[in-house]
């Protein structure tokens, strides 16, 4: 059995779904961030798959590297936000942080 583009896309889709599931269901803010990482990485897999099998070539790998850098930056900023939220609310449970309501 040869590995085709479809397999990559399938894995990427599964990974994306898992990431979204984590984002939606996790109560811990850290976990939510980790879900986001999964989504970003599923996108990376897509970029790499299209660079290998599609016509993206090197641009696809370039985009994947950008996304990894972006993810690192995002993680730094997001963790800083979570730390501040913890300082303010003494919790990182996103259900309890519902100031947008009322």
């Amino acid at each position: 059995m040869t590995i085709t583009l479809t397999h990559f896309l399938l894995i990427s889709a599964i990974l994306f779904s898992l990431g979204v599931y984590a984002v939606i269901t996790r109560r811990n803010a850290i976990m939510v961030l980790m879900g986001i990482e999964l989504i970003l990485n599923s996108a990376n897999i897509n970029f790499l798959a299209f660079s290998r099998y599609g016509g993206l070539n090197i641009e696809g790998q370039m985009a994947a590297i950008f996304v990894i850098i972006l993810a690192a930056a995002e993680a730094a900023v997001a963790l800083a936000i979570v730390l501040n939220i913890y300082k303010r609310f003494n919790t990182v449970n996103v259900d309890e942080i519902s100031l947008l309501k009322d």
Partner: protein, 685 residues
Amino acid sequence: MTTELTIALAILLLPLVSFILLIFTGKRYNDKSGLVGTAFLGVDLLMSLYILFAKIPSEAKVWDFTFTWIDFHSFVNNVPLKLDIGIMVDNLTAVMLVVVTLISFLVHLFSLAYMKGDIRYSRYYANLGLFTFSMLGIVITNNYLLMYVFWELVGLSSYLLIGHWYEKKSAADASKKAFLVNRVGDLGFFIGIMIVWMQFSTLTYDGIFTAIQNGIIPFDSNTWLTAAGLLIFCGAVGKSAQFPLHVWLPDAMEGPTPVSALIHAATMVAAGVYLVARTFPMLTADALLYIAYIGAITAFIAATIAIAQNDIKKILAYSTISQLGYMVMGLGVGAYTAGVFHLVTHAAFKAGLFLASGSVIHAMHHALHHVGDHHTDAQDIRYMGGLKNKMPVTFWTMMIFTLAISGVPLTSGFLSKDEILAGTLAFSKFTGHTLIPIIGFLVAGLTAFYMFRMMIVVFFGEHTDKHRSKHLHESPNVMTVPLMILAALSFFAFYSFNPISASHGWFYENVTTPTVVVPEAVSATSTEEFVEEVHHQHTLAMILSVSVAGLGILIAFATYYWKKISADAIANALKPVHNFLSNKWYFDELYDATAVAATVGTARLLAWFDAKVIDGVVNGAASVTRLGSVISGKFDSIVVDGIVNFTAYFAGFFGMLLRTVQTGKVQTYIVFALVGLMVLLALYI
């Protein structure tokens, strides 16, 4: 202006100064205010005497000072339209000035004792000053405009003086009555003045009389001339208490007695006679006839009422009305000088009578006060009697006044009354109106009777109460001296050296009938013919008047002194007549039932109209507005507020509904976003 006119003006203004001084500063030196007023009037009297002695021998007929007050710069009937006012002094004015200031001075003097301790002492003297000023104004002006102004001022000041003791309801009512009744006459006077102004565009006597002499008469009609004269006479009817407006004078006796002497005997009531004398040249024969009859009717009615009165001042009040009727009758029949002469002599002896009655009342009050009697009326002659020995000065002076008013020879009253009666005889000879002399002589007899009735009841016999009589004393000198002066002036010598005829005395020589200016067709008998006839009738008049006066006195003595005739028996036998007389011919009741009832009825009707209709309309408008507000309020609170509240509620309801979607949880929103994305994808792919 000449020196004499300046002095005349000073005579006019001095009492005004006294009034202003006392009304503003009188309270500060209350006890001295009487002396201040009296001093002012003393100076006034001296100046008046100077004017009289300067004027009488003077060749000039009139001293006159006129100036234009308002110039309208337009013409009516080719006569410049302007209002001239001014003052003048002719012989009549000069005499009147002395009469007014003399009586006023004596009343001021008398009041020093009579009004002593009164609560409004200084105001009393201030008002006397105002009254004297007004009265002098009437006699000194030379036009109807100022005459009317002063006329009203006299009305006002007499109102103030009659109502001096205004705490007493009867006094307050009397002052109102006097003012209102006078107003009726003044209305006629005012209309008369308007007619004159309409036609002649001038109100000076001289201007009017000159115009009439030149043939200009109101509306080219002799009837209008008569009407103008009679309307002006209306003023005199009010002020001089002539029938049918005589009802105020007896009530005015509620004022202090010296006031009665000044106002209701000598001056104010004489103003009407003076007005007729001033208007005399423009009175037609018809007008004079009416005036003569009004005078005669008044004289008769008042004399009959006086017989049945028991209040000493009421008797004198009716006697005054009767004598005023005499004067008016004298002027009406054309005996101008006699009428004015009677005014002057009457002023002296009637003021004397009032002051003497004041002295009696003063003594009675004093005695009643001493015995602690607060119920007996100090003015009722039935409680008096036997005062002759207690008050000799008052008695003798009052006797002289009574002789004078009864027309007994050697007195001034005899001279003047005699001339009037001769005038009425001459008048009846020319015109055939015999009723007038008949009434004249009848009234002369009645006057003698009721005056002696009063004298006998008050002064002769025994006093009705032994206890009280011990406390009766003669009045102090300030009260008796004026009486003596007036008593002296009641003798013939001051007016004429001939005791039986005044026709060659200074008064007759100087106060002569003015030239009549009305057209010949409507004028009365010419003055020359009339005077001639009066001379013929003089002896007859004298004999008749002395005999009727003697008869009246005799009956009075027979009835009240010797008791040969029982007054009570006669009163009982003629009960209806006696009631009729003692109730003053029911004039008050008649006026109450007609004029007063009509006025009050109209006032009630208007009040009802005001209360019901006008107020009803106003209240109705208010109710309608109120109803409108209520409806508008309801509309606001229900409809408008309802819409607003509903909108709010609606928004709130949907807010409530939608807020459940807004959880505030980022994850929920992500779910929505994903679901949305999927829906979109499903739709477009």
